[in-house]
């Protein structure tokens, strides 16, 4: 039985989480025969390079309406392909758009959907809860298993099968499928290093004490060419904007080092920095939970420790 993967792409370039989903889908044991060519579905343009990743057939949905994103129109294309192909599994990236489209598909077909899976076999899945602080093993009761793959849960692996066949179709969109679509765009002013992409993040929590308390944090971040982050205690106090918040309901970061001062280490905060290669925690409390997820620790008052680190960097740089 077939495996169908929904590919998200930007002007024909598949997104990384989509390629991870593809790798995940290939390893999916269907009737005990893993590794057979998978079917891909894309809208607008045929994504490049899918043959390298084990795709035998690309189902390409074409429609004038695909000029601007309309989640239900994409979902309708997936539903039509499911009805034609009768796959046993449909996989998409657990990205914002992937989860959105698959939830529409699940609602249209009234089928269960397992979001943000890290592994799966048959109808048994393991998915994340609490932004990754907890895992859930679940059974999906359905003839077609719909699932999305947690980004970065699997590494992209190649499996060349040659140029895939492209099967074009025009989905039969209902007016309701186009009721919600992007009608305009607001560009943001580019300012400095983005938190999500920063190689170094220096952040502080309630221990910073006030908005002004972030002066020393900004200073250290600037010296290191990094970005400033914070905890939710800080955004809720109005000391920093929500765009600086690291965590389950803030930004997910993946720097070379995360310097976290005056942050206790709540699971919801740590869910946002699981991608950090190293974590350095600075905290007055030697029993703070963050020391159990950090690589390095300094026990002390951030108001003394952080300026001392900045001074030492200046000394070393000046030498």
């Amino acid at each position: 039985m077939a495996v169908l993967v929904v590919i998200e792409h930007v002007d024909g370039e598949p997104t990384e989480p989509s390629l991870q989903a593809l790798t995940f889908a290939r390893g999916y044991a269907v009737d005990g025969a893993p590794g057979e060519p998978v079917h891909a579905l894309a809208v607008g343009l045929a994504p490049r390079g899918l043959g390298e990743l084990g795709v035998g057939t690309v189902h390409l949905a074409e429609h004038d309406a695909f000029g601007s994103y309309a989640p239900a129109a994409v979902a309708r294309s997936v539903v039509e392909t499911i009805q034609r192909l009768a796959p046993s599994v449909v996989v998409a990236a657990g990205s914002e758009l992937g989860n959105e489209v698959m939830a529409h598909v699940a609602a249209m077909l009234d089928l269960p959907l397992a979001a943000n899976c890290i592994s799966a076999s048959g109808d048994e899945v393991t998915r994340i809860r609490w932004g990754g602080s907890l895992l859930e093993e679940a059974t999906v009761h359905s003839d077609v298993v719909l699932l999305t793959v947690q980004p970065h849960a699997v590494a992209i692996e190649k499996a060349p099968v040659g140029e895939p066949a492209v099967e074009r179709f025009t989905p039969d969109l209902l007016p309701a499928d186009l009721a919600v679509r992007v009608t305009d765009r607001v560009e943001a002013a580019a300012d400095g290093v983005s938190l999500a992409d920063a190689k170094i993040v220096v952040s502080a929590g309630r221990g910073a004490g006030s908005a002004e308390g972030f002066g020393i944090i900004e200073e250290l971040a600037a010296l290191l060419g990094g970005a400033v982050g914070c905890s939710r205690a800080v955004t809720m106090s109005g000391w920093r904007p929500h765009t600086d918040q690291v965590g389950q309901t803030g930004t997910k970061i993946a720097p070379e080092i995360y310097i976290a001062s005056g942050i206790s280490g709540a699971t919801q905060h740590m869910a946002g920095c699981k991608g950090a290669k190293k974590i350095l925690a600075i905290n007055t409390d030697p029993d703070a939970p963050i020391f159990a997820s950090a690589d390095y620790g300094v026990i002390g008052d951030l108001r003394e420790v952080v300026p001392a680190i900045s001074a030492e960097i200046r000394r070393v740089k000046g030498a």
Partner: protein, 251 residues
């Protein structure tokens, strides 16, 4: 305008998650409870919209009897009344949850202009209840929203994407799922809490659809509980910190 916001009671876990012996739930004996930050922003937005445009803000939850605490919290912030779909405390999957919420909206009879959800719940994070409710009610749905304004029978929604924001303009009534950052929610005031005590809660026990996403067990992922190498105490640790930064190649 009339606005319904759906919220879900979840435990406030601290630095570590401890499971019950049967691995079916989080051990909550020593924990407080809350709702998702996304949902807090939803409640705040509903209250602000009603302040600006008139109408009524209503809050709904599906959960155990104890979830009345979260309904009172939301009414303390300004919701006028609550709908409580009381469960026996066992897990409902997203399809069952959405079916019960859609039925309750029908039964309530209010013509809601806007139905707000969190984009994903704090604990299960299934990313789908809002969308399922919208399909059940035949309403348009927009997800992941960080900016809302209402004018001329339309809701204008902004969603972050690729460093900017995509705009969606959708006719009311509509379903919108929101993200933290939409606004800065207020804390409930003491008079707000007093008033909330006497606001009405309509409780009922919904029939339960069978679970099709059936949890077998919960697992705490490996990798928690490592111990940091302590580089030192106070400002004297600075040279060691800088050594580490140099070792990693960041200086």
């Amino acid at each position: 305008m009339n606005i319904l916001t759906c919220v879900k009671r979840v435990p406030m876990t601290g630095g570590t998650i401890v499971l019950t012996a049967d691995e079916q739930a989080i051990e909550t004996r020593h924990l407080g409870f809350t709702i998702s930050p996304h949902e807090e922003c939803g409640i705040e937005e509903a209250v602000r919209l009603v302040e600006a445009h008139g109408g009524e803000s209503v809050v709904l939850t599906l959960g155990p009897a104890e979830a009345e605490e979260q309904l009172r919290d939301c009414m303390a912030i300004g919701a006028a009344r609550a709908i409580h779909l009381v469960t026996d405390g066992e897990e409902w999957d997203p399809q069952a949850t959405a079916a019960a919420i859609a039925a309750a909206i029908h039964a309530d009879g209010t013509a809601f202009d806007l139905i707000l959800f969190g984009n994903e719940s704090a604990d299960a994070g299934n990313y789908q209840v809002a969308i399922r409710v919208a399909y059940a009610l035949g309403l348009p749905v927009v997800s992941g929203i960080k900016g809302i304004s209402v004018a001329d029978g339309q809701v204008r929604c902004e969603r972050e994407s690729n460093g900017g924001r995509d705009v969606y303009e959708v006719p009311l009534p509509a379903v919108v799922s929101v993200l933290e950052g939409l606004n800065l929610p207020r804390y409930p005031s003491v008079p707000g809490r007093m008033r909330a005590k006497s606001k009405p809660v309509a409780a009922s026990t919904p029939p339960r659809r069978e679970s099709r996403l059936a949890r077998r067990r919960l697992v705490v992922p490996a990798g928690q509980g490592k111990q940091a190498e302590i580089l030192g105490h106070g400002p004297d640790a600075a040279p060691r910190v800088v050594e580490i930064l140099q070792q990693i190649g960041l200086l």
